[in-house]
């Protein structure tokens, strides 16, 4: 019941994802600490406060563009020999949903991020700076493919870069 409620909340926040969200979410047995609504704790979980205005969100071609970026990104990181092993056993559909939510939220879009905070989400993975940077490079390639302007890419990367501190533990 709670799962269903959450799925609906996400669907309401990110209309474009409604189907994928509810079906993928229903498969996910792991508990997810979702905040009740966008709040300071939302920013804490998403790892940063959103970029002001919706210029960057629009530069990503909004929800549909971010979805395309993440479709491409998940394929890239799971086939990148540098980091593909890090994704073994991961729930990729759920990961993609959370990444779309997070990027939509951080770029100033009308989304709520329903995942755990960066520290918890990466706990025990023993990630290194080179893993973090390899992932950033893959993200750049996915953003290039979506033809997100370089400056807008950097505005998002500026939000993601400080997440190295909670994510990289090794």
């Amino acid at each position: 019941m709670q799962k269903l409620f959450r799925a609906h909340r996400i669907a309401a926040a990110c209309a474009g994802l409604a189907l994928a969200a509810s079906s993928a979410y229903a498969q996910d047995a792991a508990p997810v600490d979702a905040p009740a609504k966008a709040s300071p704790s939302e920013a804490a979980n998403a790892g940063a406060t959103p970029i002001a205005g919706d210029g960057v969100y629009k530069a990503f071609h909004e929800q549909a563009g971010i979805q395309r970026v993440m479709d491409d990104f998940i394929v890239r990181v799971t086939t990148d020999p540098r980091i593909m092993a890090r994704f073994q056993g991961a729930n990729l559909p759920r990961l993609k949903i959370l990444l779309v939510q997070q990027v939509c939220y951080l770029t100033g879009g009308p989304c709520v991020y329903g995942g755990r905070d960066m520290k918890d989400a990466h706990a025990g993975m023993n990630l290194e700076a080179k893993d973090f940077n390899a992932l950033a490079e893959d993200l750049q390639l996915s953003m290039d493919k979506e033809q997100v302007p370089f400056r807008a890419q950097n505005q998002l990367l500026a939000k993601l870069a400080p997440m190295e501190r909670p994510i990289v533990t090794k």
């Binding site: 970029i51 290194e128 700076a129 950097n154 400080p162 090794k170």
Partner: protein, 295 residues
């Protein structure tokens, strides 16, 4: 011929570095994990930075878990002189950098006019060390704190007699510097400010200290770069210098540069460089071209 020779050295170093990087990729130590262009480029004095100005960056594409390095070859063609420069640097764990560079300042035809003889060349070896003290260029996007490093450059010039003849006090000198480099990623800007304590005349190419002044002077060097793409940064630099020698006034240096990283193993820099007056010859400007190879 000399240009050809050192180009070959640079190319061979590049090749061997590349092979080494591949061979050790499995070991993970040569991780090349740093993001493109975030190591800066090799300065004419061998330390990583912007070309003329040393930065707080650590040479090489290694992260905190690895080792990186570069070989570089730089040529500056000026109105009446030329400077050729080749060297190598190594970065350890994105914390410490060691560098060696040989500078050859060729007076060309001007040498005869100066009474030194045609193609009289001042050679200088620069041994550099730098340590990153605090901050991270890339990750610290949520704070104003820059990456800060402190460095030394020990310089040995081989033309002791001429240096003394023109009023210089020593053919050897040590520069001390502190650099603060900040990447404003959201603005696609990189900014550096460096404070250098030095006695060097024309960065040591004309020796150290002089008849006018023989004490350390605090000098400033700074760079401003704008990232156009992840491969290309354009910008400018400014560097103040002491004027210790009575026979020839020394000017500040500046340049406008474009640095292009083809990939993590090869980058090319081209700059318009204005080095002011050098050894009584006015308005020494021209083109700087630099090739850097590493991992």
């Amino acid at each position: 011929m000399r240009w050809f020779k050192s180009t070959c050295i640079a190319a061979m170093s590049a090749l061997s570095l590349g092979v080494a990087a591949k061979a050790h990729a499995q070991a993970g130590l040569l991780d090349s994990g740093k993001l493109l262009l975030t190591q800066g480029i090799s300065t004419i004095e061998g330390s990583s930075g912007g070309g003329l100005a040393s930065w707080a960056t650590i040479s090489g594409y290694e992260t905190g878990d690895g080792i990186g390095g570069n070989a570089h070859e730089t040529y500056v063609g000026l109105t009446n002189y030329s400077l050729q420069d080749f060297g190598a640097s190594v970065g350890l764990f994105n914390r410490v950098e060691f560098s060696y560079t040989r500078e050859e300042f060729d007076t060309g035809a001007t040498g005869a006019k100066l009474g030194l003889g045609r193609n009289f060349t001042f050679d200088q070896d620069v041994y550099g060390a730098k340590v990153r003290l605090i901050g991270d260029l890339v990750y610290d996007q949520d704070t104003w704190l820059p990456q800060i490093a402190a460095g030394v450059q020990y310089k040995v010039n081989d033309k002791d007699a001429i240096i003394h003849a023109v009023g210089g006090k020593s053919a050897q000198g040590t520069d001390y510097y502190v650099s603060a480099t900040k990447l404003f990623l959201a603005q696609s800007l990189v900014v550096d400010a460096t404070l250098r304590l030095t006695k060097a005349n024309q960065t040591g190419l004309l020796g150290f200290g002089g008849d006018k002044n023989n004490s350390y002077s605090p000098e400033f060097e700074g760079s401003l770069g704008y990232l156009l793409t992840k491969h290309l940064v354009v910008g400018g630099e400014y560097r103040t210098k002491p004027s210790n020698l009575g026979f020839a006034k020394e000017n500040d240096w500046w340049d406008l540069f474009a640095a292009y990283a083809i990939n993590k193993h090869l980058s090319v820099t081209v700059a318009y460089t204005d080095l002011g007056d050098i050894a009584t010859f006015k308005n020494q400007n021209g083109v700087l071209a630099s090739l850097q190879a590493g991992f």
